[in-house]
Symmetry: C2
Subunit: 118 residues, 2 copies
DNA sequence: TGAATACATTGACAACTGTCTATGTGTGAT
DNA sequence: ATCACACATAGACAGTTGTCAATGTATTCA
């Protein structure tokens, strides 16, 4: 895996001490913020929790659309945000697209915030 | 402590299962999101980490202002956001105002996201 | 009382975000 | 081939957010 600027936010988070241990550098904060920002929306929080707790750990977009009173493009948009930041994996099977939570990413983020050692 | 709508986001988070355990309700997501949103900014992430890792667990605004290349009102604004959501406690002593991290709040949020049982 | 210091509040403005409608793209079935 | 379906993308628009300069409010000291 590359060490370059193309690190996804998720990859960045994995290697930081807990927030409360030592001050975050400017660069660390700039990289972590997008990941937290991706979670900072009620719809995306629900999307993530629905996917995570779904049978087989994955859910197709059609299931997700039904869970909200929002247009399909809006759900698609939120899924894209979560995917781009590395919290959700995508897989297309036939006509359907299945999303799956990157459990390690969530765990690392939790550790970073909560103070549990990663 | 009241069970009413006046729950601070921090109080709300403390009582939820991890994100990945079961789907968040609409109401839960609406309450948790502001807390995550408060963290979803690089400046606020750094502010929190600086305060948390400071000697005695507290820092005065003057220290914080010096750590950033931003105007004093801007820092004041970010501190207010973190305070209103319950992540930072304020205490005025003389002319100075000291901020302190609510460690439990951060821990609960980490548990909620990371999946560690609260 | 007056001046200086530490911090908060206000108001303004550009940038970003969430949502929608309309449209595009790929896949499977007839 | 054509049609229907599942999902993504584009463009538009209102609401929110981060920042600053200017101003307000306590508090201490002289």
């Amino acid at each position: 895996m590359s060490k370059s600027l193309s690190l996804t936010p998720v990859e960045t988070v994995a290697c930081c001490s807990p927030l409360t241990k030592e001050p975050l550098s400017h660069e660390q904060a700039e990289r972590i913020a997008p990941l937290v920002k991706a979670l900072a929306d009620p719809v995306r929080l629900r999307l993530l929790s629905i996917v995570a707790s779904h049978a087989d750990g994955e859910a197709c977009v059609c299931d997700l659309n039904d869970a909200f009173d929002l247009s399909q493009p809006t759900i698609s948009h939120h899924l894209k945000v979560l995917h781009e930041v590395g919290l959700l994996d995508r897989e297309k099977r036939g006509v359907w697209v299945y999303y799956r939570v990157d459990a390690g990413a969530l765990r690392d983020l939790g550790a970073l915030l909560g103070g549990v050692v990663g």
